[in-house]
Symmetry: C4
Subunit: 207 residues, 4 copies
């Protein structure tokens, strides 16, 4: 994970980011140009490949990717044309640093915004099989999805995340905003996102 970043590695990451973005966009969770995805491409120092800002997540090209450091600041890679990373890259990097996740997904799923508004102190779900999809037990295991206030300062958002986080919960709701979810790689992060969205829709339906 500390191998030198080459244009080929960056493009390979961009290709994976584009594929998973397109899938999530097809669910209606990335309307406009909302949401962003990232993948850890180096740990020492931390480097993430993150989707470019302001583009349609259904139509990304492999080159629509930027490399950022642990603070979310763009890092130049020789031979790679610079594109502007998402402003939220700093929170992706914090999540990756704190949790050890290999990939982070952020979407504007309506159910996440509705659940975060209804339960600003955290969304509680228990006794449903889909919890196994995020590594928890299907019965007798109450999961509380943390909810933090939204903001534009990613350092502050990262601090809120660390304060609210439960190490056993691979997701974070941002009130009036959307959902973050993560996993060991991009496919796993998408799967966690799908399961969390299902669980939030379930929580809203039975409330």
């Amino acid at each position: 994970m500390n191998a030198r970043l080459t244009p080929g590695r960056v493009l390979a990451s961009g290709e994976r980011l584009a594929a998973e973005s397109a899938r999530l966009a097809s669910y209606g969770w990335m309307r406009g140009t909302s949401g962003n995805l990232s993948e850890v491409v180096g740990r020492d120092p931390l480097r993430l490949a993150v989707t470019a800002s302001g583009l349609d997540k259904a139509d990304l090209a492999p080159s629509d990717v930027a490399i950022v450091d642990a603070g979310g600041a763009q890092v130049a890679v020789e031979g790679v044309h610079a594109v502007r990373p998402s402003a939220e890259a700093g929170l992706h990097a914090r999540v990756a640093a704190v949790t050890g996740a290999g990939a982070v997904v952020h979407v504007h799923a309506l159910s996440a915004v509705l659940a975060g508004r209804r339960w600003p102190g955290g969304v509680r779900v228990r006794d449903v099989e889909m919890l196994k999809g995020i590594g928890r037990a299907a019965r007798g295991d109450e999961v509380v999805f943390p909810v933090i206030p939204s903001g534009q300062d990613m350092g502050e958002m990262g601090d809120r995340f660390e304060a609210a986080r439960d190490p056993r919960v691979p997701a974070l709701l941002v009130a009036g905003h959307g959902l973050y979810a993560w996993g060991e790689d991009l496919v796993r992060a998408r799967h966690v996102t799908e399961c969390v969205e299902w669980l939030l829709a379930y929580a809203l339906a039975v409330a």
Copy 2:
């Protein structure tokens, strides 16, 4: 923008209109042959390329496009086979003239009709990140989507639009009818449409 309209430029515009129409139709917002899209192809005098009337918006060909003037009247272009423009082209042209937008989208999304019926004096939304997708602030910035009565006279509709319009809001709800949204180009107009529809669904869900 005052270059002479050639068949090639008209077809290129028709191709972009067909692509964005197909995407919006796939969301279920253009049932039957409802809705229409337009793109400004000349400013002095104003000329818009607008989708043909009465066709399936999921299946448009690049040639399913008409050129209209500032009043929505069809303008002949040498070498281009004339197709009937949408009857609503006049309102598209007015929106483009008044706002300076480069493209306008009109869809019959159910959420727009439901929101316009529930809040005939305007749909208020605030404190949600998706507002950034239409150029507004995520917090502390109340957005009011104007709602105007529907009608068949596009000149009158245009006057209602001008009277109701807030220059900071790139969208208009027409009661018992649907949604107009616009942007600097067609992709941006579609993105605005997606964000506004999300915001209206959100407003309905939390009401």
Copy 3:
């Protein structure tokens, strides 16, 4: 319309039926093997091409088509392999005979079943632009979609249709069952189906 039925004409009709079936199935309105589509292929005597019974409407081949007469009974065509027509072909034929429609669509859209149950005396809709999609006025024109009880005898169903029908309404709801809609050709019949389904969803949402 009284030209001799050739295998080529039957297959051409089957191809159109397959394409429109696939589109309607993609909306979730033809779950399992439910629903069926037909197209008039002769008027004197009346002949309809109708989708085969018991097949997945998302995956029809052009040869998955049967020819039926005015009573819904199968008619052999030289050179065409016989497939079993839908049991509901008799109601399709009656609709085509009575209304002069060139094509009929029958789907099991949930909104149609819910609306028929809520308003067994007919579903009233007015003052919404989507009514223009079924040939009615956008304002001041109350449309009543007739609802008839369901049954397995297509002759009896046809009588109920004739008794309930409003010549200005190109659709019929069958209680506890689904929706019929029609038009001059298959594409128009699908468009009418889409508009009616939207109108029923709207009626349910504002009730």
Copy 4:
């Protein structure tokens, strides 16, 4: 059905499982890596081909298939690379053994979980045409979908299934979990799944 299992037969089964899984995943009923499908490939002794555990059901390859016995235990097939079968394979096998079904589908459709929670004693549906899609009468025939508690022991789950089962109902709801449905082959099992899901959504909507 007692022919020797060859790699070719296993891969052919895996190809069918992949195709039907992809269709069901496209409906949003297999979020994350949830759900699994199986097909009987031998009766004496009972052998099922079942989808591999932990994979995305939208993206299965024909080789993402395992062979299990009547207890759900993996059976090696010469020339076939072993993949881990779903942990729920034992319940699939029990359903196939008890009902004689040729294929079993298990999905995490939200409507199934909501209906099972609302009616833990069984979900009653009657007088709706879609019941014909699961082999029941459209009128005057009350269908009760059995609901059993969830669990991780597939032998115990199988016993609950046998105790709760109505031989005329080709589906089983597992509370807080999801839906099982079956049929003579995979396509039929998918069709039954589609019809049952529609019926559960209907039951919830009219409750």
